[in-house]
Symmetry: C2
Subunit: 116 residues, 2 copies
DNA sequence: TCAACTAGTTTGTAATGCAAACCTATTTGC
DNA sequence: GCAAATAGGTTTGCATTACAAACTAGTTGA
């Protein structure tokens, strides 16, 4: 289908997953059954608003499920990744591996450290 | 600085490089001294307009250099990656490697394909 | 001459990422 | 008891973006 390390594969990356904020969310979710909104907010450093909107997009895409309930008397939003979400993440990871083969590693990680 | 495979590193990805179209351009450029606009257009599958604007952004960011000349009587635009571009690409690659460690590989790529 | 092609650039637009402002309910200070 | 602060999010507004359609400028073919 594609040559090993075919860099053009990069164009097929799932944009829903490719966005750093959402990739982070998915990665965190993939390591737990259920994650609280507030926890994600802290881990990710995203603002509530930003997190909320990324959450909605992932939910709309079927990659995560959002459960709303109450802890005591306060609202509590929890997220979990769906099977489709896991597949999307695994697939993204695969594509990323392919893409990385298409990006040349620096010839020699020489001792000189570049300043930019 | 960051734990091995720290997934929050994903938030530090260089957006100029992270965009698939531009990553593709950079990857192609990294493997040649000089690449023609038309060649990139075909390899990437990008429209001329899209390619042109990504090219401008990469140039504005100092990651590539654009040389305009003539071949016979027709205009010819050629691109080449700059040292800064190479560094940015190498750095991106490094970060990507870190990020990938934070994305769990599917436990076992079992033979059964599930649908939900 | 004029249509069609080459080689790109500019323009228009829909979608995106982001945070400020907002909303609703609870808790705390006095 | 009630104003202010806090918790837990959502909605709105905005600046940026990716993308292709339309355009520009020159060239070749008939």
């Amino acid at each position: 289908m594609s040559a090993p390390g075919d860099i053009t594969e990069v164009m097929a990356l799932d944009r829903l997953v490719h966005e750093p904020a959402r990739l982070l969310i998915l990665a965190v979710l993939s390591g737990a059954k259920l994650v609280e909104f507030g926890f994600l907010e802290q881990v990710s450093g995203l603002s509530k608003g930003n997190l909320s909107s990324h959450m909605s997009k992932l939910e709309a895409g079927g990659l995560i499920e959002v459960k709303k309930s109450f802890r005591g008397k306060r609202p509590l939003t929890e997220l979990c990744i769906t099977p489709a979400g896991r597949r999307a993440l695994a697939n993204y990871r695969r594509q990323l591996a392919t893409v990385m083969q298409g990006i040349p590693a620096p010839a020699a990680p020489t001792k000189r450290r570049r300043e930019e």
